[in-house]
Symmetry: C2
Amino acid sequence: MEIGVSPLFRDVSEESQQAMRTCFAMREYSFRAGEVIYDFSEGRNMVGVLTQGAAVIERIDHQGSRTILERLERGGVFGEMLMFENVAGDSITVVAEEPCRVWLMAADQVTKRCENACAHHTQVVENMFQLVAEKATSLYERVEVLSRRSIRDKLLCYFSLLAAKSRGGEFSLPFSLSALADYISTDRSAMMRELKKMRDEKLVDIQGRRVLLHQVI
Amino acid sequence: MEIGVSPLFRDVSEESQQAMRTCFAMREYSFRAGEVIYDFSEGRNMVGVLTQGAAVIERIDHQGSRTILERLERGGVFGEMLMFENVAGDSITVVAEEPCRVWLMAADQVTKRCENACAHHTQVVENMFQLVAEKATSLYERVEVLSRRSIRDKLLCYFSLLAAKSRGGEFSLPFSLSALADYISTDRSAMMRELKKMRDEKLVDIQGRRVLLHQVI
DNA sequence: AAAATATTGTGACAATTACAACAAAGTACT
DNA sequence: AGTACTTTGTTGTAATTGTCACAATATTTT
């Protein structure tokens, strides 16, 4: 299976990657939709690369509400290093949304320079930095959305973020409306009601996952 | 003025710092409490180091609500590079909370290796990475807090975060209760009411900025 | 020390959001 | 094609949160 699709191994030659696979003691695993790929509470401190499928990093708090912390696609990377500590002792897991293939390796192997001196290990470390920077950007966007004070403002903020990325007022949501509610940390039915109001006020047009934002803020 | 206090210049010798001051075309500025140190909308793409005083990075949205995005103390670093783009076109500024002294420099100077080949420029780049990683951690904590669905949960989450850092159930808030409301993105009086309830239920004890958390979640 | 300003504490009332429950539409699986 | 499951759409009601207004302390400035 290809791991070269991942930004973690960007600019690393196929041979070096091959060498790292043994050097990092990487193993490949398969998961079916709905299965837990990784549980952050187990404290093994691994880094994982999704080479096939899509998954979400989700948190279930002590009251049982789910919050989607992040969505991962092919090439996506996850791990304690990219997640930082879990404060409240809630369950945080990576869950497959569709059939997935994942490479797992120990985090310290990735950051420490290996004894075998893989030619491109330095590149991997640099890529790791790049990933942290990207993570910071996406977390910042998350904060932008979550710090809005009403459901409508959260939605508009999130929508205009996506609209800006697609360079236009039209774009596709990366997940279902149910999942969107979890992403913006609100009740689904309350969100649906607000969406309806916004549709009535001609602020947005929504058909399935396709969104057309009329009033770009 | 000392800029060596900043993590941006960690492990950079005093002489190299001196050299960089000219190389980066750094200039020092002073601000009184309440003054705007930096406005992200001006698009000059600078990096600033706070060498004296304390400040907050705040966002005022189109409705006029203030949200504290971050608090900076002596040594704190700010800049577009650490802030990423502003999506909604709101005003984002760095505002002095007390008299401040700030060194300002152009962002590209910091990341690009300079022609004069300052001995420790590489170190500064590495420090910049470190800062981005720390920023990611604090943003992640922010998301943890903001994604809670009630004021009480937000407070408890934030409090246990601070409690964990101080290794005990007792700690000091880094800002006033009014500012805390802006930080957790809620209405102040609603927060006060919730705090009162929590006090009555003996979950917490609050005297001024001193907090004693009884029920660490 | 007095004045000005900011912060804290409180309450009534309005608006928003969460909860719960159910039907309809869509998808996936056998 | 039929069944199981998920997602979407909708509501009434309860709970929470926001708004406004004002008094009482603190804190800072003059």
